[in-house]
Symmetry: D2
Subunit: 340 residues, 4 copies
């Protein structure tokens, strides 16, 4: 590929979309923000206030027709990922698709097939793979600092209550998909294995308003994992916890343990007359992972320029979706569920 | 009861027994060490070297006949707990019995019945209930600092490889009993509920020499718990980890989280030219819980003197044994197991 | 010396005295609490409520005549240390004297001479020398983990406002004596050197009520130290800080640094909806150093039994008093002051 | 001023210069990297390898004549700051000058006068004023969380041994200037006061090779500070410590304390069989303060665009230089030195 600047259009101007847009607008060598697509005029206006001069498309199809656009970031609600990704591939645009990749395995396979057929890159937004702390952790394990991996535990607790559209588990796939897709990918990354069987328990402890209409909705779950290579895994997820954005990793080996993640927002501690030590907690994933999103964007541009495999592929996205669905089945059927 | 000093005989002069003996010898107001019973002459000699002048009994039955002995601590291998406890009760001696209480629920019930019948106290050695850190944690939760309890996670990783007699799970009940009886009791304490159903996965990752003869032996497990009151629980246990004695608690509530336990042995950190920060890790449970053992002993004497219920009863011991057995069944049968 | 139990009388039933009394009453092998001496009937009654059956003397001279008393702990206000120590030595009683040893160097020398003449032990109450954390720190430095020592910084901030009798610096020697005698001893211990020159700045920031009558009083100071062996030292002291009992040590070497001390009372952290992480701070020196006081008492009994030099001698007490006086002179004269 | 992009030329392509160049090249809205000036061809080539396409000037005077250049960053050795800043002002270019501002107060005053006369902005490179952690700390203090400020302690220990040109204190002003200019500025910022008097002790503990020729050189110092408003200050500085880049702040108030800074590079901790807990330490200031440098650059562009006072002015640079010189005099003359 030539050294020309790669124009990236961000589809979906919500919170995640705006992080991507901000990065491509200023911080990614060899790329520029070609535009933003969102059907909501309000969202577009808010986006342009933050990124003055950014081009806007009311319909993402206009962006797909634009020659200035070489790649897209798909940051819409999950249910639209499949359609947009396939159309983008058909239009010859590379795709960075946010997680979860899609609603089920079939959709993921269609997306992978479309990217293959049209020769575009398809990267999935598991940006923790680009996070310096997670990379340092992986590297220490590869150096053998804790012996052989025995058990990988990954936890994500989100501060905010779910949005009402997430209450219908059949549509949203629930917190397993919305919150813990990242944890699933982390387990695959750190065990270097696929999942063999999962068992999950779940309940709704914080969302009173969902109880009557959506008795299946859960906001807290624990899922144990048998990995195909014999290792053990554990994922804990929660929404609406209020106290922080809490993402921690613990890897137990045959002769050591690794702990990663920190609830502290910064290095400031105050101790005052009430005799309590107080620090600020991490308020949001976009603070915590801001550098990881920038590295993810650089990685996406690099794989396009160098014409190589993305660090996180469609297959990674597909495998996570399969686990989400198996976990949700385990919750409902109250039994361990094997992955195919 | 009169203000006379209560003579306590420690039965079993192993590591746990010697902690109890040391406490009753010097640190427990209103009590004294009446003697030590152990069939091993070597153990008795080692004990007397550390506690000069301590009276020794080769057979615990001699102690049970001794008028100077008002109470016993049962710190033998688990398989002898039932017999000794029942005989002690018959002899009118109060009993502080180490964990696990016994090998199965039936034994526990016999022990409880004997204590009831003969009007002696029966306290089980869940000394974490007397630990200042755990008590502070419980108190903060009762104050509502994290809202309603949703999920209690308790973890114990022991540094040492299991002793060969533990390899036969049918006899030892495995790490669930040896290591995690404490965690089971902690979950009951913090959820204020009984267990409803457990699901556990387990494997042997560190004990090569046990594999051929004891294919069922495991040194690492993860167990999810449905509590009867709807809360969730999680217990992780490991043996032979080498890196530290690691005991941590995490309680997630509807609007906060509580973390307790620290891998650091002391408050000293060194950072030197290799550019690593280094602290010492906790080496053993007897360092970590030394003050808890002393408080446990005081609690035992207090309940005898004041003729009141012990803080940790035979029923608490019984319930933990039931959970151990259900967990072990889940491991073998690869399915969730309900508690009766 | 025979194996007979050493009877210890505690003189001064204030806070420090009661810690010593509690230890000798239960926890020190080879010793017992022979009694408590205090001119205040109120103090004696409170003491006996906590230590039922403890013998009491209204006048310490009665204790010095008692054959059951083999040793005394001097825990009175500083101004009485000299007189009581000398009389105790004359009566053939060993002395554990609280810090600061006395008001000036002359008094210290008289006390040392008296102990020498009458062949009794004189130990000074720098219990940090018996603290496991400080000992671990010293040991790491001796192992060369930070290279050669360059700078030792010791800090003590006390939560409580000074008692009114401390306002007159000429009598109390101020926070340098009351709070930081320990820090001075720590610097001597960790540098293995005497002080050569000190420079201190000080001010009264928290004690409004002392300002008019005691313009020289200070509740906050910083003192830089040139050690005789060329190392550097720094002591920071404060009273009335309210937030915690804060005692920390930092040792900078040629190729590393060691940090010791922790503001946290226990290992429990709570994070709740306000998105702050909160732990309890250390509330008092008697909590923080409780095990050190017990070890100090054991060390005192050991040096009597084995007829050897105490770990902390009268000379250590004397040197600290000299530094206190030089520091106070530096504050008043606003210049560096050399030690003789 | 118009909305046109501000072209910034970085003068001095050393480590600090390249941080600035990298920021202006990609991350600062409304600015671009107009070029790099350095007399060393090697430095220029290395710079262009990292920033492909960057324009280069062998002589900074060429940059000052370039219409594309609206502002310069002065990141040369300190001795050239005065000359370049004055010429840049004469050429109508805004200046962001690295710390220390200059070698003495007279130079600083000339620089301030030149900027005033020619109506250009002069900002000094105290980027800690733009660091999120320091800002959070300042904000908590302003909220009164620790009461009134009593004592501000700032510490900077650099890992690397000084470069040989720094050995001559008369030229380099030593570690007080090279390392602790930042700490001086931090004390002025947090006390909101000027310095009244300083007293410093210093020594050379790590740089054997400097001892013979430069007996005045020091690599470790402690400086106590009386602030004009009655507060206390303390600065500790060291070079060649090897163990980390260590920058910590401690602010003691009338009823609380604030601690900021962390030796940990990331949130990863490993505990393995040796029973030590290990984390990576911060290796360099450019890692630790990377976001602060970007914010500093944004602040510089903002003050140009909005035609307002920079956050850090020439006066701030001047005051720090005065303190550096007073501290160095105190070291030599072994007495407290008053600021004019």
């Amino acid at each position: 590929m030539s050294r020309a600047v790669i124009g990236v259009c961000v589809i979906g101007a919500g919170r995640a979309g705006m992080i991507h847009a901000g990065n491509f607008a200023t911080a990614i060598p060899g790329a520029c923000l070609a535009g933003l697509a969102d059907p909501s005029q309000t969202a577009i206006k808010a986006a342009q206030a933050r990124l003055p001069g950014a081009k806007a498309y009311a319909d993402y199809r206009q962006a797909l027709e634009d020659k200035q656009v070489n790649a897209v970031v798909v940051a819409t609600p999950t249910q639209f990922h499949r359609q947009i990704t396939i159309e983008a591939a058909q239009a010859g645009k590379h795709v960075l698709c946010e997680k979860p990749m899609a609603v089920n395995a079939g959709e993921c396979q269609e997306m992978i097939a479309a990217a293959d057929k049209h020769g575009v890159k398809l990267q999935i937004g598991f940006m923790r793979r680009f996070d310096a702390g997670f990379i340092a952790a992986k590297s220490r394990i590869e150096l053998g600092q804790i012996g052989q991996v025995v058990l990988v535990k990954s936890l994500t607790h989100g501060p905010n209550v779910p949005k009402p559209w997430m209450y219908d588990i059949r549509k949203s796939n629930g917190p397993l998909a919305e919150v813990s897709s990242h944890d699933i990918d982390t387990l695959r990354w750190f065990t270097e294995s696929e999942f063999e069987e999962v068992y999950a328990i779940a309940g709704n402890y914080r969302c009173e308003d969902a109880r009557a209409q959506y008795p299946d909705f859960y906001d807290n779950f624990v899922m144990t994992v048998r990995l195909a290579n014999g290792m053990q895994g554990l994922i804990c997820g929660a929404q609406g916890v209020g106290y922080a954005y809490d993402a921690r990793l613990e890897v137990l080996g045959t002769r050591g343990i690794l702990l990663a993640g920190d609830l502290r927002q910064d290095s400031v501690t105050v101790c005052a007359s009430g005799m309590d030590l107080t620090s600020s907690a991490v308020k949001s994933w976009w603070d915590l992972f801001a550098p990881a999103y920038a590295c993810e964007a650089r990685g996406f541009i690099d794989c396009i320029r160098a014409d190589r495999e993305p660090v996180v592929t469609g297959f990674d996205g597909l495998q996570a979706v399969k686990v989400v669905n198996a976990g949700n089945r385990s919750i409902v059927e109250r039994r361990p569920v094997r992955l195919d």
